[in-house]
Structure formats: C-alpha cells, structure tokens
Symmetry: C2
Subunit: 436 residues, 2 copies
C-alpha cells in the first residue's frame, strides 16, 4: 500500500532516505495543493535536521525543475554554459562575463535573480540601463541566446514554480541554511535553462552566505556532485567575499563598472574573477581545451572590443539603450557625493562587505522585502581596499546620494566598516579553491 | 531590538532556550494570524528535534491556556481536581470516577475528548445516554460542577483555542510524538478548567500511545514536573494497556459497564483503577489525608449508592435520561451478536488492545477522521482476558452488531487478537508505577 504523504514526512523526520519517486510525489502533491504549505515547511525543517542524500537531492532538484517549463536549446548549435554565484557584495560579474564568454563562442542562457538582504541582484543592476527588460518570454529569450549569444532574464512563473514557492517558505521558516535545499534550489532553476554545463562561484567570507571556508566548500562539493549526477558538467570556484568585489556597490554604478571591464578598464579583482570563471565556461563549452588558452582568448575579446559588441547587441535585443555599452558614463548615478575619510594613517586591513552591503540597502539600492522597489541611482565606491596604504584624511569611499544630509548616517556606517592598522594583512588569493 | 518571529524560530532550531515571554509572543502572534500555520509547523518540527526545557513547556502551556477562557471556580468551595488519561481501549473510567469522587466531597470539572484512531472518547460514550449533552456553555458547566459536584463536557471553542489549532497541525505534520508538545497540549486544556490538582493516568502498552515503560515514564515525569511548575498538585499513575480495560469496548456498552462499577458490579480491573485514581484525587483535594482512608470512602460511596445518585443528577443536569444511572440495561446496544470462540484449550496469553480497538473502529464505534459520526450501539465484550483458562469452543469475546454477515470479518480480527498457550503469563500489576 502506498504510504501517505504524512508518513513520508515522518520517514524523513526519522532520518530514513526517501526513494526518488516518493520525493517526486511530495513535490507534485505540493504543486497541486494536496501537500499543504504547513506540511512542506515541516518537511523542510525535518530536512534541515536530517539532511538529504545526494540521491534525494537530485530527485528534489529534478522534481522542482519539472514543476515548470524546461527550455530546449538543442536547436542552437554548440554547448550552452551558464554561471551562478551564491551572492556577494559588489558582485556584478554576470554583466561582463556573459557577453565576453558569448563573444568567444559559448552561448550563455542566464536566468538571474534580484537583490535581497545585503546582496544586490543582477536584474536590478541591468534595469538601470534605460529601457532594459528582464521579463522577456521564454521564446524571445531562446531567440536572443541563439542570435546574440547570451540573454539575461528573471525567473518567470514558468521556470521551476515549485522552487519559487518552496524558497518563499524557507525564507520565513528558518530553513534557508540547509545545503541540500540550497543545492536543489540553485540547480533546479539553472537546469531549467537547458544548459549543458555550469560554473559556480561559491563566495566565502563576511559578505557571503557561507561565512567560513569549510561550509562554503561543503556547499560547492554538493553542488558539483549533485549537478554532475543530474547529467551536467559542473565546476565550482571558491572565491573570497570579505571585501566587496571591485569598487562599485549599487545598481547603475555596478553596471558601469562591469562595462568598464569589457573595455579593459575594470578593477583588477573584478577582471580577474571574470577571466577565471569565463575560462572555465569556455573549457566546459569545449571551445578551448585548456584554461590558459581560454583566458588568452577572453583577453583578446576585451582588447578587440568583441565583448562590448555582444553586450551592445544584447542590450538592444532586450529593449535597452545600446549606447551605454560604449559610453557607460551615460548611466544615471546620483549627483550628490559624500566622501568617507580615513581618520588615521596606516594600511587598510578590512572593508567589511556585510556592513557595506547593508549600508547600500539602507541607502535604497537594495531591498529587505521582496516587494520593495530599488533606487538604481544611489550607491557607493569602495576606493580603498585591504592592503592599500592611506594617510589620515584620504578618501576611503564615496557615497552617491540624492540628499547629502540624509546620507550622513550611511557615511558613518561605511566609515565603521573600515579598519586601518599599522601593518598590512596577508593578502589571500582571489580564487581560494577549484572543485570539479 | 526585539527579535523577529523568524529569528525566534531559528533560535529554537539551533537548540537555544527561548525565554517565556518569547514563547508567549509566538503563540499570541499565531493566535492573531501573524505567525502563520507554515511557520508554526516549522517551529513544531524544530521542537520535535530540539525538545523544550521544562520552563519553555510551562510557558507554552500557559500561552495556549491563555489563548482562551480560563474558568474561575474559586467561588465554589473546596479544591477542584480532575483526572486525565492518555488514552486506551475500553477506558471508560471517567464516567464512574467523576461521580464517585464528587460523591466523596471533591468537585470534578472535567473537559473530555472524542475518540480518534483506535481509542474511544468519553464524550462519545456519554452521548449514548438519550438526550445527554456535552456541548454546554461554560456558565452552565460551572453551575453544574457547583451544584452536582461534577460535569463532563467537550473542549469548546473558548477553551485553549491555540492548542486546538496546534494539535490539528501536529496531526498532519508528523509532530504528534513530542513529549513537551503532548504535555503542553494536555495541561493547557486541563488548566483551563480552573482546577487545583490533576491525577494522570498514563497508559503503557500495545493499546496505548506510549508503547514502552520508559517512554511512558518520561511522559508522566514531564507532566508531573511541568504541572507542578504551573502551580498545580499533580500525581501520575502508570497503568497497563496491553489488554482492553474491563470487558466492554464501544460506546453504550462501555457506559453501561462504567455505571455497573458504581453499583459494585463492575469488572475488577476497571473498579481497581477507578479506586486507585479516585483515592489520589481525594487526597489531592484534601478531603482525606491517606490513600487508604480515601479508598475506603470511595468503596462506601459505591455500597451506599451515593456514586450512582451523583451520576443520576449529573445526567439530569446535562439533559440526559437519568434513569439509566439505576437501570444501565436501558442503554441501547445492537441486538445481533457474534461469538468469537477459542480454537484450542489453554490459557489466554494476550488479547491485543490495539487490534481490538481498531476492530471496534471498523465496526463503527470509533472514527478515523475527526468529522466522522460514531455508532453508539455497536461494540464488543472481551470476555476472556490474559490469565483466564479456556477450553476449545469457549466464547472469548462477543460482538454486538446490526448485521451478522457484515460483522464476520470483525469477529475474525478479534479472534486474531487473541493468543492462547499452554501456560499462563506472569500477571503484572495494574498500576505499574506512581509518580509525584
């Protein structure tokens, strides 16, 4: 006799492994409304405590994936590869990476997210480009990926709707921090894009979801194992997120900085992570056999302007003003500035990504509830970063605000996020580890 | 800054103890709809894994208690004492116990439950008395307790409504089996009666919620500790529930048997448990200083008919036909009978309470869903019990049905519930342990 859904829930509670068809049955019943929200949240909490095996995680991923539409990009030649970041402060990599990789011959269908909490979202940043639309239907998305090489849209109601509902539940039931649930959520959305491979940027540190190396590695390993079992080629890089990536934190200001990378003028850390992730994507996409060869090609695509041209075409295809690709200074950034000054001389030892990210949210660049609008124009620049020598009175950071008086408390928070000491900290590598 | 409700949930998930005001805040928010069902079920599952301290359990009990009306019986002289059983098969003790204890001078305000699963419910049994009402308003309940000495009603919407909603959630989220949640649920309802003391009958065995002595003792200990911390005088008896209590299993048939106890004609095990629980209630109610003295008084109240007279007045006050108190044979029991015969000679070694209880449900005496009606007339008598010698062909049990042909499969199940062997099992005591 078939077990009832409550019996399956009790089985998970007791630490027994659920067979894949039973996991599928739970998710399907949830989609139909037969397994209620309050039952799913109990299942999520039981999973928080008991974990899921890789087999269960694959089953959950596939069940959530098949709760919606799965794109079929087989008609488009070549392998399709995407990148996913677990989220950090100043992480605008997708905006320069996707066009650059597409310019080198691998198509990048990318479904991105919005900012929530202290991290920003690629969609919010892109929408600072006048006219740019991220809500394209799946048919148009597919066409743009085919013709331009890349397209960046938001998770539509068609893509993994069960994941969307489960994620909303996790957010309000203290069940976000569960590695198998994170893995299934990420992979169900990414697999819905019809990709052949995926490069993961798993962030570690103060400004990341995973604060320490061990838990970030555990997440990265699970993502690689489960993604591979689901039939995809997956590589994960662990990258540092104690300090914001690049200088810019905000929406228009981050988009501008990402475009600068395509012009060869971006900050070195941002450019370096773009090249590291991009070369993995080109190798997974079988365009180049070695990471070194792939990196050379990416650099050439910056130098000869191919990356900028793909971005230009993508913006145009997505109904935005394509001229910002060659003239990023056209992006509208708030006119008033407040400079945060060093109160002593020495070496910057930290510029806390978490506190800076939270300050950007407080300025209006992010949101604390999913239904809040964001202000695309406000933001800040982290001008001095750990390892930089400063003199008392030097500008550490610059805030871009509409109203100077109102921004002073935010400036004070940014100042508090800085630490200056007599000696420089040991500089760690940008890419901490590579997992395949 | 006050923690958010989700933060409190995360705190419990992480095994931190929640201060009493925070538990109260959660339950109050749940009552107002600000802490949703899906959040409460996640909290319940986290509690299943992490447990609750006694302090947290007291706080949860009081918060659920104060979600509704708490009776104020202080205007009624003397201490008010109730009894609660964790549920068994054939457990009709309340029906004879409450009038008997009231007859000896301790008032017994009793809010009882309905049958669910394999165990019956006192309200269903009492409703087999023509006209008897268990849905009296709180004012009438109080008046009857004062004037008659005892009254038995159901949990109204006014009594511990938060417990009622939480219990319904637990039932469908695999979170029933949590000792602190069981304790808070029982005590919140009982404390709402305005009692000074409580005697608990914690059942152990095949037909009980707690199958083994250790878990039953853990539940009993928690009930006594938490009830005492909540300011009540509490005693718990652990009693065996491998075999149905008394002979009768059903509704009218159990009521009839309970009334027989008040006439001094009840089965010895049922009479013994009634006296054991009743003497605890009289001592807690400070009417007698010793259990022996209290027991003598209870026996006298049986012999001189005081118990029957209180029952009669209670039935009358609750709109039922009072003549059944002196003539229990008037209760309407199904006319057709099926006898279950011994298929060999020997000694009965078991008469499985769980299987017999389930069979009674299948006959129509109980329910598997809360909204099902019950048939008051059907039932069965467990005529031979463990330790009884039988000859092949002797009647082990008798079913009372409306339709003999339809009852045959139930008779076969009852036969299967019996075990007969060559030698008698070691007879255990009825009361296994006493905890204060």
């Amino acid at each position: 006799m078939q077990r009832t859904l409550v019996e399956l829930l009790a089985q998970k509670r007791d630490g027994e492994e659920l067979p894949a068809p039973e996991i599928r049955r739970l998710v399907e019943a949830f989609s139909r409304g037969e397994f209620a929200d309050y039952q799913m949240s109990a299942f999520l909490m039981a999973t928080y405590f008991r974990g899921l095996s890789d087999g269960e995680t694959v089953a959950l991923t596939l069940a959530m994936l098949h709760s919606g539409k799965v794109l079929d990009l087989r008609s488009i030649a070549g392998l399709k590869v995407d990148k996913h970041s677990t989220g950090g402060v100043g992480d605008k990599v997708s905006i320069c990476l996707a066009p650059l990789v597409a310019a080198c011959g691998v198509r990048v269908p990318m479904v991105s997210g919005r900012g929530l909490g202290h991290t920003g979202g690629t969609l919010d940043k892109l929408e600072s480009i006048p006219g740019f639309r991220t809500d394209l239907p799946v048919t148009e998305f597919t066409k743009i990926v085919d013709e331009v090489g890349t397209c960046l849209i938001g998770q539509t109601a068609e893509i993994a709707p069960a994941d969307k509902r489960i994620y909303a539940l996790r957010d309000v039931t203290a069940t976000v921090e569960s590695i198998p649930l994170i893995v299934a959520s990420i992979l169900s959305k990414k697999l819905a894009e019809g990709i052949d491979g995926l490069v993961l940027d798993v962030k570690v540190g103060r400004g990341a979801f995973m604060k320490d190396h061990a838990s970030a590695r555990a997440l990265a390993e699970a993502l690689v194992r489960v993604g591979t079992q689901a039939g995809k080629k997956v590589v994960a890089l662990l990258t540092g997120m104690d300090t914001p990536l690049g200088h810019a934190v905000g929406n228009a200001i981050e988009t501008r900085e990402a475009i600068e990378v395509l012009h060869g003028r971006g900050p070195s850390d941002l450019a370096e992570i773009t090249l590291a992730l991009g070369s993995e994507m080109l190798v997974i996409g079988r365009v180049y056999a070695s990471l070194d060869r792939a990196r050379e090609e990416l650099q050439r695509a910056i130098e000869d302007g191919r990356g900028v041209r793909v971005l230009e075409r993508m913006i145009e295809a997505q109904h935005g003003d394509p001229s910002v690709a060659s003239e990023p200074a056209k992006l509208s950034i708030a006119q008033e500035t407040i400079d945060v000054k060093a109160n002593r001389s020495g070496v910057v030892v930290h510029a806390d990504a978490l506190e800076i990210g939270r300050t950007a949210v407080a300025m209006g660049a992010g949101r604390t509830r999913a239904d809040q609008p964001v202000d695309h124009a406000v933001g800040l620049e982290v001008l001095k970063k750990p390892g930089d020598s400063v003199k008392a009175g030097d500008t550490l950071a610059r805030l871009y605000v509409h109203d100077r008086a109102g921004g002073e408390s935010c400036a004070a928070r940014v100042e508090g996020a800085y630490g200056i000491a007599d000696t420089a900290p040991a500089a760690g590598p940008l890419v901490l580890e590579r997992l395949t």
